[in-house]
Symmetry: C2
Subunit: 335 residues, 2 copies
C-alpha cells in the first residue's frame, strides 16, 4: 500500500512525524510511505530512512487558525493539499495528517471527493477501552439526517471488520438515551427504523452512554455533535480519574512506596486507554483512506496511525461503495 | 422544610428509603419528613423514628415498566402521585422518589405543574468530580429549542448557587463541539446568542466534552439528548477506569499487598466520584423541589438526596420564576 504522510502538519512536525513514518516503514516493508513537505526541511530528519520511504515536494502547512477551505484554495501547494492530490491521482491510496482537522477534512472533500451514495463524511474514532469500539461520527457532520446515520453504520462496519480483524459481521449500535426502540429524538427514532430495515447491517439496537466502553457494540453510530461530545467526555473523564488515582498514590511517603510496586501495572492501564494507541481518527465516506492524527501526535502515534491504515488494507473504497449501494437498495425495498 | 418521600419507589424500597429518610431526619431536625406509602408496609421499618418523621397514606408504587402518564391517571393513590399532590397542596415544599424516573417527571408535571415562563422542565445532575458541576438537561426534554436552553441556564444558576453554596454568580457553560462561538448545530448556535444576550446569566461560553469534569463551569447547559448521553458516558467511563485500576491491583500477590496499603486512598477516590454522594437528580422547572433518586438507591443515597433538598432550601420556586422573567425581559430588550 502507498501512504502519503503530511510531514509538516502537527505540533511536533516535522521531527515526530518523520520519525513515526520511518518506524512504520521499517515494520511494514511492503508498504511505501511518501513524505510530503519541503524537501530541504524534512530531508535532514530522514537520514538513514529505509528504501520504502519516498519524498514528494510541497510548500508549507495549513495553520490551525486558518479557514480550511479558503486556505486550501489559496495554497494548493500546501502539504495536506499535495497529500490529498496524491490520493486523487492514484499515486497513493491513503493519506495521514496531524495538522488542522478542518484542513484534512476539507482537503479530502475538495481533493479526493466523496464515495458514491454518501452525502456526508464521518470521522471514525476508536474508543480506547478494554473492549474497543469504533465511534462515528466524531465531528465531521454536526447536523445529520437519518440516512447519514445508516451510511455511517455501513461505512463503519466495513472499516471495523478490517481494522479490528473481526471474524463475524461487526455489531452496530445506535447511541441513544435508552435501550427501547421508541427512545430518543426524531433523528434517533428514524435512524433506528432504517438500521433495523437495512440488510448487511448487524444492528444490535440502542446503546446508552454508560455502555460506550463496555463492548456492547463494535461500531457506535451517532451524529457529529453527539459523537464529538461523547468522545471528548470519555477522554476527559478517563484522564480525570487517572489523575485522581495518581494524586492518591503520591500523597504521602507510605503511599509512594506502595505505588512504586504497582507502577508497572498502572502504567499498563494508562497505556491501554491512551489515544496514541490508535494515533488518529479515520475519515470515512471519501474515495481514499484518510487518517487524521491528533495535533500533538508523537512518533508513536504517527507510527500506529500508519500501521492502522495498512491493517485496514487496500480496496476499502470499492467495498464501501458496494456496501452503501446494497444498504440503500435493501431500505428502498423495505419501504 | 417539609419534604415528602415516596417510601415505595426504588429497587430497595421500602427498607433503604425509610432508613435514609430517618437518617436525614435525625441530621436536619428542623425539617419534617413525610413518608408516603401503605402504612402497614412502612410502619414496621420506621420503628424508633424521630419526631420529625410523619406518615401519609398511599397505595402501591408505579412500576418501571408502566407508561407513566397512563399509570398516574389510573392510580392517583399511588405513592409518587400522593407525594406530588402533597406538594401541590402546600403540605410539602419538595418530594423525593427513587421509583421510575418517568413517573416522577410525569407526577411533577401533572400534579404540581410548571413554573411560569418555563415551557419544558430539565433534569439537573451533579457530575461527581473534584470540581463538581451541575449538568442539565440530563434527559427530561429530549428535543429542545434555544429558549429552553436559556431557561435551563437560569434555573440551573439559581439552583447551583444555593446547592453548591457559591459566593459569586455561577459560571454557566454551553456543552458544544468547540470553544469558538460559531461552533455547533443550529440549536447550539442560537442558544449561544441567547446566553450572551441574557442579563443575570454569567455565561462563560462553550465547554467541550473534555472539560465537563475540569471545573470550567458550575452549570453545564445542553439539550436532554446530549445531556443524557454525556452523563451516562461520564459515569460509565469512570466506572470502567476504576475497574481497570482494581484489576491491575489484584492481579498478583505482590500487587495485592501494595494495594492493601493504598486501599483507603483509592476508596476515597471511588467515593468522590460515587453518584450516591448526591443521591439523585433535581427536576427543575416545576413548582416545587423534586428529587429523582437512582432506582438502586441505598439509604446513604436517599439521605444525601434529602439533605441536598434541604441545602437548596425554601423559596426556590419564587426565586426561579423571578429569574426566568428577568432573563426573558433582558433578551427581548436586546433583540
Amino acid at each position: 500500500m502507498r501512504i502519503a504522510v503530511d510531514a509538516l502538519g502537527g505540533d511536533h512536525a516535522p521531527w515526530e512525524i518523520v520519525s513515526g513514518a520511518i518506524a512504520a516503514a521499517r515494520k511494514q516493508t511492503r508498504d511505501e510511505i511518501i513524505l510530503v513537505g519541503d524537501e530541504e526541511t524534512i530531508r535532514p530528519f530522514a537520514s538513514g530512512a529505509p528504501e520504502n520511504i519516498r519524498f514528494k515536494a510541497a510548500r508549507g502547512a495549513i495553520g490551525m487558525g486558518e479557514d480550511p477551505a479558503t486556505a486550501l484554495r489559496a495554497r494548493p501547494e500546501s502539504s495536506v493539499a499535495v497529500a490529498a492530490e496524491a490520493v486523487r491521482r492514484g499515486e497513493a491510496e491513503a493519506f495521514f495528517s496531524a495538522g488542522s482537522t478542518g484542513a484534512s477534512v476539507a482537503a479530502a472533500l475538495l481533493g479526493i471527493g466523496r464515495l458514491r451514495g454518501c452525502r456526508r463524511p464521518a470521522i471514525a474514532t476508536m474508543l480506547p477501552f478494554d473492549k474497543p469500539a469504533l465511534l462515528l461520527d466524531a465531528g465531521a457532520t454536526i447536523s445529520c439526517r437519518p440516512q447519514d446515520l445508516l451510511n455511517f453504520a455501513i461505512l463503519g462496519g466495513v472499516f471495523a471488520k478490517r481494522y479490528l480483524r473481526l471474524e463475524g459481521e461487526p455489531r452496530v449500535g445506535l447511541v441513544n438515551v435508552g435501550e427501547e426502540p421508541g427512545k430518543g429524538d426524531d433523528l434517533a427514532k428514524e435512524a433506528h427504523a432504517l438500521l433495523e430495515a437495512a440488510e448487511g447491517v448487524r444492528f444490535v439496537g440502542n446503546v446508552e452512554g454508560r455502555d460506550v466502553g463496555s463492548g456492547a457494540a463494535d461500531v457506535l453510530v451517532t451524529d457529529g455533535f453527539t459523537g464529538n461530545v461523547v468522545l471528548k467526555t470519555a477522554e476527559g473523564v478517563a484522564s480525570e480519574i487517572l489523575g485522581m488515582v495518581r494524586d492518591a498514590m503520591t500523597k504521602n511517603v507510605v503511599n509512594k512506596l506502595a505505588a512504586a510496586v504497582l507502577r508497572p501495572s498502572l502504567v499498563a492501564v494508562r497505556d491501554r486507554v491512551d489515544p496514541e494507541n490508535y494515533g488518529g481518527s479515520f475519515l470515512l465516506g471519501v474515495r481514499g483512506s484518510v487518517v487524521i492524527g491528533h495535533g500533538n501526535s508523537r512518533a508513536r502515534g504517527v507510527e500506529n496511525a500508519i500501521l492502522g491504515i495498512s491493517r485496514a488494507g487496500s480496496g476499502l473504497v470499492e467495498e464501501s461503495e458496494a456496501a452503501l449501494a446494497a444498504g440503500r437498495r435493501s431500505v428502498e425495498e423495505a419501504s
